[in-house]
Symmetry: C2
Subunit: 152 residues, 2 copies
DNA sequence: GTGGTTGATGATAATACTTATCATTAACCA
DNA sequence: TGGTTAATGATAAGTATTATCATCAACCAC
């Protein structure tokens, strides 16, 4: 199921980066975690909890490098804080629950086509896009919370 | 063309906020500026340049209040820094030039419909969304810069 | 394998953006 | 107009991120 550490080192290496222990551990975390989107702080705490000796500065550096190397992609989800996710080739967009923070992914070729069309019409060469839908998920607790807030 | 200050005060007042001088000036700035999207720092510098005595803390507070009052809307545009724009009722999305930072707006009912459909299928009650397209605009200088960057 | 070079690490200082604190001041309504 | 209540501005504090730099480890040539 999960790639062994050696493949992992290979991925890092072929991005022109030295396959160091911190880098291997960070990449592995993204490959193994159930929580797909992680902030620098999330990664830091998770690795500390696993008994790793790692500095926060290294996390930030490596996340930036991995993003440039296209191993990870970065999002902001309308908050000042960056989160990263594994880049698995297939582009997708996000559906975010405003109550519990859960993130679902989706991909709609028709929307993608329309985006391309809009960019072309305005003389833009489209490079990338970010589409996030915000709402309340089907969890009853979230719906209750949403009702409470609107009464608030 | 532009609303007089009194209407301006009216808008603020009917949002349940006192029509203070700093608030009137900030709202007026958004109504009169050609640069549609402004950060807290942009607003601060602009008002200082106009000879206003205003504190940065006030700017942050007022921008947050105006957003809650739906006079302004906030965006992050994939950077850790918030920018605000006047809320004129009509929802729209953004097309951002990655070279010069220019922002164009667009609105596509078909994309909106598809978004609604996606949310429904997954049991989400859609509240809002953010769609930003990033690319290179038709300005020759931007296209030259883009080519230079891709050569690295 | 080993060693030298080069780049990576981690501690920490610095920066950028934003929010909280609090004494003073101004807006609003009776 | 005066009193109440909320807003302001200076500044401290908080949070997220980047820069600095001495030490250390990965990699390639041998």
């Amino acid at each position: 199921m999960h790639k062994p550490a050696s493949d992992n080192a290979q991925d890092i290496h072929s991005s022109g980066l030295k396959a160091t222990w911190p880098r291997i551990r960070i990449l592995r975390l993204f490959q193994q975690t159930t929580q797909r989107h992680l902030s620098a702080e999330d990664v830091y705490r998770s690795l500390l909890a696993d008994g790793e000796e790692i500095g926060l500065a290294t996390i930030y550096r490596v996340l930036t490098q991995f993003e440039q190397a296209r191993l990870l992609t970065r999002h902001y989800f309308e908050s000042g804080k960056a989160v990263y996710e594994l880049n698995e080739g297939q582009h997708h967009d996000h559906l975010v629950c405003m109550m519990c923070g859960r993130v679902e992914e989706f991909c709609d070729p028709e929307i993608e086509r329309l985006q391309q069309q809009i960019a072309e019409r305005r003389g833009f060469e489209l490079r990338e896009h970010a589409l996030s839908l915000y709402g309340v998920c089907s969890n009853p607790a979230c719906q209750a919370k949403a009702r409470a807030e609107s009464r608030g």
